[in-house]
Subunit: 256 residues, 2 copies
DNA sequence: GATACGGTCTGGTACGTACCAGTTGACTAT
DNA sequence: ATAGTCAACTGGTACGTACCAGACCGTATC
């Protein structure tokens, strides 16, 4: 198969289980990230409908989703443009590892435990494991994240065992998302995250080598892969030693 | 006008400058927040099209936007349901005003002070006002943001006076970004934001009607317009009353 | 009582038509 | 050289039709 064939293959929208608007969304995303630079215009809606053989409504639906994702923006009368990639990681955009490296620190991870359990109700609900027929076990994974040997955060996550068989046999000291995509073909593509402040309880304080009641920044995240929930994780960062930096672009910027 | 008339008025979708899908979006949002509780089903798409006299595509577009906003969720074969309100709004994506409205609260702003001063060193540095030849004054603006009359946050911001002449003559109880674009042609398009936890000092505690040492979630933001710094603002939210939710997409998701 | 089936609801996908509004460039008139 | 007009592009709105797939309920049968 020549490169041209591959490109044509890439470009083809087929009838099948995967909706056309999702196939097109992926194709346009690849185009935007691999062939265009921020500020460049993607082909017009009418051009995309001709090239891919779909209706304009399908094109619009596909592009809509990339706009919601922050990859594109539309300008009436002008076109649809690739958006500037964030200059730095947004909140938790970078992995813990990358975050610490950027801060000039050496990141390490201590695995505390990884066992298959019946998840607690909140995690079960987030993971869609709370109805009859969908109950089962999830990996409960607890890790302490360190920078230059200093504990910075405690993470407790739940991962459906049916989605990630034998997860305990993997090297869990690195990036879980890399393991998910490399070993399981699961690509985390969206997440909902909630942030609040709380005081450390005794076990958490011990793992963080901190006094009880140390202020914490807590992040709870539910991550999805292709629409299905794959991760429910709570990360507790020492609030006195950790702050978060993020870059926002136009569609992220709020009015004061 | 009787209540029934008001409801009918509320319900009417009219031709006019405001698109029907936006009018319907607002109507359904009101229905979802005022008449339904989380977990309840909204009227079906076909019912809404009959009641509001619009097409099903228009209904779906309106509902789509409420789903993106985190207000509703669809279940194929079952219906569209109201979602727990706390799951709304991305981190500072929406303005404070929109954020509070989505949480079903009435947002107001108390202007504490707005005066032209020489900015403190940190703000001056962020705004590029710390070198000879670029010194000058900046508006120091302090506001208390309230929801349903309850103070939620204190904001202190600095805005270069040369960029925003006569800012003190504007109505500063609303969205500054709207004023910037409408009156000054300045479009905020990027920002750097840092987040940490701290305890409230006495003046801040008083403005927030809280005890001293109340835990706060603090956001410091430096905003840019077309590459030039335009705003340095610190917002202190009561950590006990406020949590932040955000949605992350693929390029936002970090590795665990 | 359990199971299977059909009907009716729900949302999802995909197409099509028509027109509106914004932007831009070419062309023409002054 | 400048201003105005128009056509051709762009995205936006709105409607319509048709069919698919999931969920649920009622009924019939075993």
């Amino acid at each position: 198969m020549t490169l041209e064939d591959e490109q044509r293959q890439d470009q083809r929208i087929t009838d099948g289980p995967e909706p056309k608007h999702i196939q097109l969304s992926a194709a346009v995303a690849r185009l935007a990230t691999e062939s265009l630079t921020p500020g460049e215009m993607i082909p017009s809606e009418r051009t995309l409908m001709t090239e891919y053989g779909v209706s304009r409504a399908t094109v619009r639906k596909a592009v809509d989703s990339l706009i919601v994702d922050g990859l594109l923006r539309r300008v009436p009368g002008k076109g649809t443009f690739v958006v500037q990639p964030r200059l730095e990681s947004r909140l938790h955009l970078a992995s813990f590892t990358q975050d610490m490296r950027r801060r000039g620190l050496h990141p390490t991870t201590r695995l505390i435990s990884c066992e298959a359990v019946e998840p607690p109700p909140e995690a079960a609900a987030s993971l869609g494991m709370d109805t009859p027929g969908s109950r089962g076990r999830a990996w409960a994974l607890t890790r302490v994240r360190c920078a230059d040997g200093q504990p910075i955060a405690v993470e407790t996550g739940w991962y459906p065992a049916s989605l990630f068989p034998d997860l305990d046999r993997r090297d869990l000291a690195g990036s879980l998302y890399d393991i998910f995509s490399a070993d399981y073909g699961v690509l985390i593509d969206a997440a909902e995250q909630t942030l609040w402040g709380e005081a450390a309880d005794a076990p958490t304080a011990r793992m963080l080598e901190a006094e009880p009641a140390t202020p914490l920044l807590v992040f709870r995240r539910v991550s999805h892969a292709a629409g299905r929930p794959a991760e429910h994780v709570v990360s507790r960062y020492r609030g006195d030693r950790y702050q978060v930096h993020m870059s926002l672009s136009r569609d992220d910027v709020s009015s004061s």
